[in-house]
Symmetry: C2
Subunit: 335 residues, 2 copies
DNA sequence: TTGTATGCGTTATCAG
DNA sequence: CTGATAACGCATACAA
């Protein structure tokens, strides 16, 4: 284990026969350095394999060149089977890579984890914080914002906080889906709603309610938490409550997938007897039996957009308080 | 944007009426501090909301209290639909949380991303590096190890590098699966192999080959890359090559899922005509038509174990060069 | 047990 | 355009 001493600015300076300050200038791309000197320095850097010490740099610059992505750990469990979790991360990562910043990922599950996130972020160990899939009305984003720390929520949080957010057009997507069912002649349209402590759950339910109400149709609601198990249970409830229902909109593809099976087990044909539409457009949606009609949300873009906003704030710009990404109805065989 | 000046050790010291050194001792839990003084310091820390500056600390300690998790970006795409990606991350995250270290996630997709990873890790900006799902014979892990940087590979890399790794028992799992097919009376057992530039792809194919050979049965191989599309294509090839095959082992559940559909489209009943077994045990496996028999790998544990090994190395301990986690055959309806 | 002094590797402010 | 030199905030050897 040869802990090879890492070359410092000083070493490079000696080798190139210049001062530390000059090396620093070259390394940071200052334009006020004579060409031959710059070349000499660059050569020394290459020869020694010099890499700046980030700790030292950030001590003086007050920047860390890293941002934190906070996700409730539940998200990684609930969404383990869809693209939300990996999608957000990939989006964030892509945008960060372009900005040459690091991604510090924090999964806040336990209360201890929450504390840890709070300590870390309030401690200004990162240049900005991106929250994803917030549950309930978390006060942390607003607190960070008050401390002057750049914050963005990817997926709006509950409650009215002054924190900028990006989200997808839940209501618009659901409205299109339910209206499509209505236009296809469905009249007893049920919904499997998502968790009501998340905007994604609430907004999708609202979209359903408003649309069936506007058409003068009755509403029929059961609740799940986006998972398959909960979707199956909700579908059974719905069937019990109204054996004659002829369509169901599920607030997640996972729940829709489970509904498909539950309907089959109950002897219903999809889409002949009951039409089914989901939300997300996970990859599996194209492989269900029958393939699932669903509302696609641009999940990767959600991560990217949130990150872009965050970087802009960190750069001192001001950004629009809300950014809504479009959703799209993807027609397959289930409706 | 009130950039409230953050309190430093100095400020706490003044407030508590002691020296900086003493505050530092208390903050770092040194036992050689008199109780009343400790109390006074802790109170001052609380009142001022003091949080240590990590950059300053790591400048002097030479530690960063963070580790990097490197994943080829392809993994997040290919595995977007299964648990591998989120599972590893969750496992790593859990173990890191217990150790109070941060997770720096790097998705190395493009060549530029690779360079970035290399610069960052060789620059000793993290206390250790965990590689996941290596493709090909990446020289980076070995190079880091030579530089004295703690490294572990989660999922063994190709080639014989001296880098410690943790992996699952691919061969054992596949052997059990194929033997189960043989014991069920299947005689024309095909396989959809994974990418041959990854150990996961290679080892699973080896397990298949050895087992059918030992039983004196013919081998029938088509190749995929773990994705559904590739699985569908491979299944068609297989059917063309041997319309009478009566079983297929797919090296991933995604490919098995696609095979299920392809078989149905080809008029085969599963499991009556053709038995199907997958590998991974993703959540979707329980929801396919019919539910998929598969080899379960402990993916979360893979992340955890890798992280534990890494932390031990970083702590100066030596660890076993290889750690193999058991796999398990999960019987459902498809075989 | 506590305080003093030093240095970690950079960037930034000033002279020259 | 370049070179001293002073912070940045902390941990630690050493002295008291």
């Amino acid at each position: 284990m040869t802990t090879a001493q890492r070359p410092t600015l000083e070493a490079v300076a000696r080798r190139a026969g210049v001062s530390r300050a000059t090396v620093s200038r070259v390394v940071n791309g200052s334009t006020t350095v004579a060409e031959p000197i710059r070349a000499a320095v660059n050569q020394a850097v290459a020869e020694l394999g010099y890499v700046p010490n980030l700790a030292a740099r950030s001590l003086v610059t007050q920047r860390t060149d890293s941002i934190a992505l906070i996700m409730p750990e539940a998200a990684t469990r609930v969404f383990s089977d869809d693209q939300v979790f990996p999608g957000i991360i990939r989006g964030v990562s892509q945008e960060l890579e372009a900005a040459d910043k690091q991604l510090v990922l924090m999964l806040a599950g336990s209360p201890a984890g929450r504390d840890r996130v709070e300590r870390y972020t309030t401690g200004r160990h990162v240049d900005g914080v991106l929250f994803a899939s917030l549950h309930g009305a978390d006060p942390l984003p607003a607190r960070l914002a008050r401390l002057g720390i750049p914050v963005v929520c990817s997926g709006r949080g509950l409650g009215d906080s002054p924190v900028p957010y990006v989200d997808v057009d839940h209501v618009g997507g659901v409205t299109r889906a339910v209206r499509y069912l209505i236009d296809s002649g469905r009249r007893r349209i049920a919904t499997i709603a998502g968790p009501q402590d998340m905007v994604a759950g609430l907004a999708r339910l609202t979209g359903y309610r408003d649309t069936v109400a506007a058409a003068g149709l009755p509403e029929l609601v059961a609740y799940g938490d986006f998972t398959r198990e909960s979707g199956a249970a909700a579908m059974r409830q719905l069937l019990d409550a109204d054996p004659d229902l002829d369509a169901v909109f599920a607030a997640s593809d996972l729940m829709a997938h489970a509904a498909l099976r539950t309907l089959r087990e109950a002897g219903r044909r999809v889409p002949e007897d009951v039409a089914v539409i989901g939300f997300d457009d996970i990859e599996t949606a194209a492989y269900t039996e029958p393939p699932l009609t669903t509302v696609r949300q641009p999940i990767l873009e959600l991560g990217r957009a949130g990150t872009r906003q965050l970087l802009r704030i960190a750069a001192g710009e001001t950004v629009e308080p809300a950014l809504i990404l479009p959703t799209e109805l993807v027609l397959r065989a289930s409706a």
